[in-house]
Symmetry: C2
Subunit: 673 residues, 2 copies
């Protein structure tokens, strides 16, 4: 099979730039406000062949250039024959090198070589004329010469609204839940000017003056309209649940509106049903939310930014494992986020987001265990690491510089001097780097030394024995305590048993310490509580917080939810009346918490070559679940006091309180409880 | 006046990439075979204003984004209003910051702001989100909102052939001399398939099988054809003197061919006529050649590469001074060649070409004296310098690494170890860096130290007192002598008086030393002879070599000329039957040699604020010349024993043997000889 091939990483860089340039807000475009690293515009592809018979091949390309067939002649000279693209080329038997030279001023240089013997795939090499012999990039999604790697092959589904309602002097269309779609305007008679008001909520769509996304359609030649056929026009891609058409009245309806829902189909994925209907409902909405936010890359949300944020993506890597467990989207997101060397700016300008990227490599390995990918991304791991090390002080602490954003969370930290939570992430990043280097047989002593010093200094500078907590920072002398660093300390196993108990009592369960407000950090807080065995607490929290959104009419989960906000203010964020995203990836964290902790499924060796299932059976009377584990899946059925666990792969273990069972491939294990 | 603005250097990088991707050869595209550095795809522009009255402005952009008007409110908060492009925006009086955010996936982010108070020009700042507050780039050529900085405003002239001839079973069109043009095919009746065979020479055009550029026109929908109107089709841009249409016979001529000559109009420039008709003729052809090869950038030639080569461009900087003396093309070429940081590959992969780039900054300063430009290019000078210094050895010698091309000239050097000629260029580059740093008030002691060591070591390692010559290299022990390093030694004043005499006798005039074969290095050889006062030798050489080309029918000067080649072999080069360029920039060097040495015009203070005129009056009975000197010009008239020198600027000196005269602005100086 032939693949489209490109210089490694460039497809992801190109597509990520396109994605980060796609945001729309209140009639204008809003590009992501950080440096956009570029792909290579000039590339040479090559592969050596030993042909035992004549071979015919054909080269298609995006870009301009030529094909060179190089053959070493017996007298030591080289014969080079050059051909244009889109020509049938025949090689005689013997040793030949096929070179394809492609430049592309506006886009991504890429080629597709088809032939019986000579065809393009991952075995080709590429050069950007500085880095030579790089194994090319490919994708399972690009295997036809008619494709164009600059156009992602989304799945399309033309949909009618679930409901049409004439209200407030216009027509309100309801598509049931948030989707990303092109609006198709079909005029029964002639073209007619109109206004499209979009909303994730009914309130927003009906707010003609202030809805976030709106298009005033004036003429058939509008810049923002594409003519599909004589009577049909398409808008740009937007995310919405509702469309309101002010002024459209029933008796004069000349317009029919459908939408072309565009998405990436990640296949069936995991299943979860239980005796807890509320939890099942939360699972379903979380699953829908997560799929809506998973595209070429893991996005934050679908209405507003649609940018690839490293912190958000990092959480998605965890959710993904317990959902459709797609390997390609993780690789695309890791490569796209990282961009090209030289590394000159933290990911999304945020120090912690660079550190999450480093940590994500170990998460990737634990989930997918693909050494080849790690080998390919390795140089970029080292350059990002080097960039971070440049901004560490004499204690080994990483500190913010001008233009760096020290984020961690939307919370009130004492930000004077290096922040404890950042150091926790740095430790975790070092551990990840050590793990990856070990897999790739690279020396680790330099980082092991730094890690040891850093861990000691964190205890020395940040642990407050009186407060029984890690403090935010030490330079100001305020010794302020927030939950964040303490959550990391437990999550990453940097607190000893005594400290864990102290943190639990004096920080996590201490009402004097400010609460976590964002679902982003609630992710880690709930994970820590689950890790500490507080499963009932976790279930209650999930049902209260996410259930609360359901009570507010959510059909996808939100960026942020404050139960006290019940009027229109619940849609506001970042000073914008409708600035809140109502379909946000991190809102899908119950998938992870349920799969990882309530069902206790986890990879215990790279790529789930070994894995564990440890369901909290006390919580459920009935369960019917299926989860991906590496190349296979595991199902958990609980009914009438009988537990059945099945898997179609090796390496599984069922862990129940005081009992452990090996799971055998294709041999269901049934236990009467 | 409003200007289009962009991130500094990006316009040149974009256009240079376009240029280096434009080469065509034998039916395919041939991108330049080195790394193409990219422009910035995401840029923020800004300017602060203190408005005393309301101001209205309008923003056009290439790319997507928005306009933000920021105003600091009295209570200390900032009010930000955002607007789409192409909207009239009004600002109230007071202090405001206008920010324009633009991204461009496929092209160059650029904006054009028009308004009475608020408009875009060189006073705006830009950021690529890593480098902030960079003064924007502009061009005098882009001052209308209808323009597009990605499309260069070439001058167009539709031309008919000078001559049509039915021969060899087809129609041969002769446009008199090489031009770069689109071919316009106008069919009197219906479209007809045909073949276009291009040639810089008649022989090439008539060689249907082997001509370098050929287009087989098959259908009106051919990829390589653009429909201009119902009956007219345009080809891609090519350089040629002749077009041959095989199979077109007089009686059935359905086709009319014109060409759209595309060029950059550099204005009238210098003039030279003398009592030496042959020299005048050479001057005219050299001038035509140089103009043909001067486009957005200084190109090597027009038919084949059309790439921007740093060595070729360096020679053009000298010729330019004595021709149309355009400052903008020099700046564009310097910026385009240099590309973006990080500097990861020598210019055109050639070490000497990086060094010429460094030297060109001092040449630029001497010619144009624009400190602002030097300030802007300064960081890129330092990064290129740092890259070169990384590959110097314990003697301070620069050596070639893997993937570096140590070129100097097409000649047989002893290339074992560091090459002497490269060290001569490195010394010259250090001198240039020191000069530029001094102008910009930066410290120079580090480079002065390196320079001193390098000069001493060159004498120690390369000067051969027995051979009375600088040897190529010392590692092999061969002590091989070529002219190149010795030419540089005199040209750059690194040889003492005794050495100069010795080199002249034992190298330059020594028939045992291999001759210089390329017009590229003949440039420096003749300059050295001129510098040594051998004017008659120089005139004789010009008339023999360039005159020889005229005798061969040249209407522009060639890339290479060997008087012994008189058959079709004279068109061959690089193993290609028609591989030689017959219109090549370095072929125009007589312009420089005549202006700089025969007329003795030279800048003696940056920007010609002081200059000298020292004509070799023995060589001419009559002269009527005009040359640019900084912002003005100097004319030299010699007739019937009377010399008149006029200038419209200050700072001039006329230097005759044993006599020196100050030239006064607008006051002709007349001398009876």
């Amino acid at each position: 099979m032939s693949y489209w091939i490109w210089f490694p990483g460039d497809f992801e860089i190109y597509q990520l730039m396109k994605q980060n340039f796609s945001r729309e807000e209140r009639r204008f475009d809003w590009p992501a406000y950080w440096h956009a690293t570029s792909w290579n515009h000039n590339v040479r592809f090559s592969r050596d062949y030993e042909l035992v018979e004549p071979a015919t091949f054909y080269v298609s390309a995006k870009g301009k250039g030529y094909v060179a067939v190089k053959r070493l002649l017996t007298e030591g000279t080289e014969q080079v024959d050059k051909f244009p693209f889109e020509t049938e080329i025949t090689c005689l038997p013997g040793a030949v090198t096929i070179e394809v030279i492609v430049c592309h001023l506006e886009g991504l240089p890429s080629i597709f070589v088809s032939g019986k013997m000579i065809y393009s795939d991952g075995s080709w090499l590429s050069s950007n004329y500085i880095e030579h012999s790089q194994p090319v990039g490919t994708s399972e999604l690009f295997t036809s010469h008619e494709q164009n790697p600059m156009e992602f092959p989304y799945t399309h589904e033309v949909r009618e609204p679930d409901n049409e309602e004439f209200t407030e002097g216009g027509l309100l269309l309801d598509f049931g839940y948030d989707i990303t779609a092109v609006t198709l305007l079909e005029f029964k008679e002639r073209f007619e000017p109109m206004t499209l008001c979009y909303g994730e909520s009914r309130t927003e769509a009906l707010d003609v003056a202030d809805c976030y996304l709106k298009q005033v359609v004036e003429t058939p030649d509008d810049v923002g309209l594409e003519k599909v056929d004589q009577r049909t026009f398409a808008t740009r891609l937007r995310a919405f649940r509702y469309i309101f058409l002010p002024g459209i009245r029933k008796e004069q309806k000349n317009i029919s509106i459908r939408v072309d829902h565009q998405y990436v189909d990640f296949g069936p994925g995991s299943q979860f049903t239980s005796s807890d209907e509320r939890l099942d409902q939360i699972w379903q909405i979380a699953e829908r939310t997560f799929r809506a936010c998973s595209s070429i890359f893991f996005l934050d949300g679908i209405k507003r930014d649609k940018w690839v944020w490293s912190g958000d993506a990092y959480q998605s890597y965890f959710i993904n494992q317990y959902s459709f467990s797609d390997k390609a989207i993780v690789e695309r997101t890791i490569l796209g986020l990282r961009g090209n060397d030289p590394f000159k700016q933290h990911l999304n300008t945020i120090i912690d987001y660079s550190l999450y990227w480093l940590i994500s490599l170990e998460v990737y390995n634990q989930t997918f265990g693909d050494r080849d990918f790690l080998e390919r991304v390795y140089p970029k791991m080292e350059s990002l690491l080097a960039y971070c090390l440049e901004q560490t002080d004499e204690n080994g602490f990483i500190y913010g510089r001008k233009d760096d954003w020290v984020y961690i969370d939307w919370a009130e930290f004492d930000i004077e001097g290096p922040l404890c939570a950042e150091q926790m992430l740095l430790v975790r990043a070092f551990e990840s780097v050590i793990a990856i280097r070990k897999i790739l047989n690279r020396p680790v002593t330099d980082i092991e030394r730094k890690l040891a010093i850093l861990k000691t200094n964190i205890q020395t500078f940040y642990w407050d024995a009186d407060k029984k907590a890690f403090i935010d920072s030490y330079e100001s002398g305020k010794r302020n305590v927030t939950k964040h660093a303490n959550i990391f300390a437990i999550l990453f196993d940097y607190a000893d048993e005594k400290q864990v108990d102290e943190i639990k009592q004096h920080v996590l369960l201490n009402s004097q310490i400010p609460e976590i407000h964002t679902p982003y950090f609630k992710f880690w807080e709930l994970e820590v509580m689950a890790k500490l065995g507080e499963y009932t607490y976790v279930v209650d929290q999930i049902k209260a917080y996410w259930g609360g959104m359901l009570d507010e009419g959510a059909t996808t989960f939100w960026e942020y939810y404050d139960p006290s906000e019940t009027d229109v203010s619940k849609y506001a964020m970042y000073g914008d009346k409708y600035g809140k995203s109502l379909c946000h990836a991190w809102g899908a964290s119950p998938i992870y918490l349920i799969g990882r902790y309530l069902l206790g499924i986890r990879s215990t060796a790279p790529g789930y070559r070994q894995f564990e299932v440890a369901p909290q059976l006390d919580l459920f009377d009935q369960l019917s679940c299926m989860f991906p584990v590496g190349e296979g899946e595991v199902t958990i059925e609980l009914a009438e006091g009988t537990l059945e666990v099945r898997t179609n792969v090796d390496g599984g273990t069922l862990r129940l309180p005081n009992q452990t069972f090996a799971l055998s491939k294709e041999q269901p294990l049934t236990i009467t409880l």
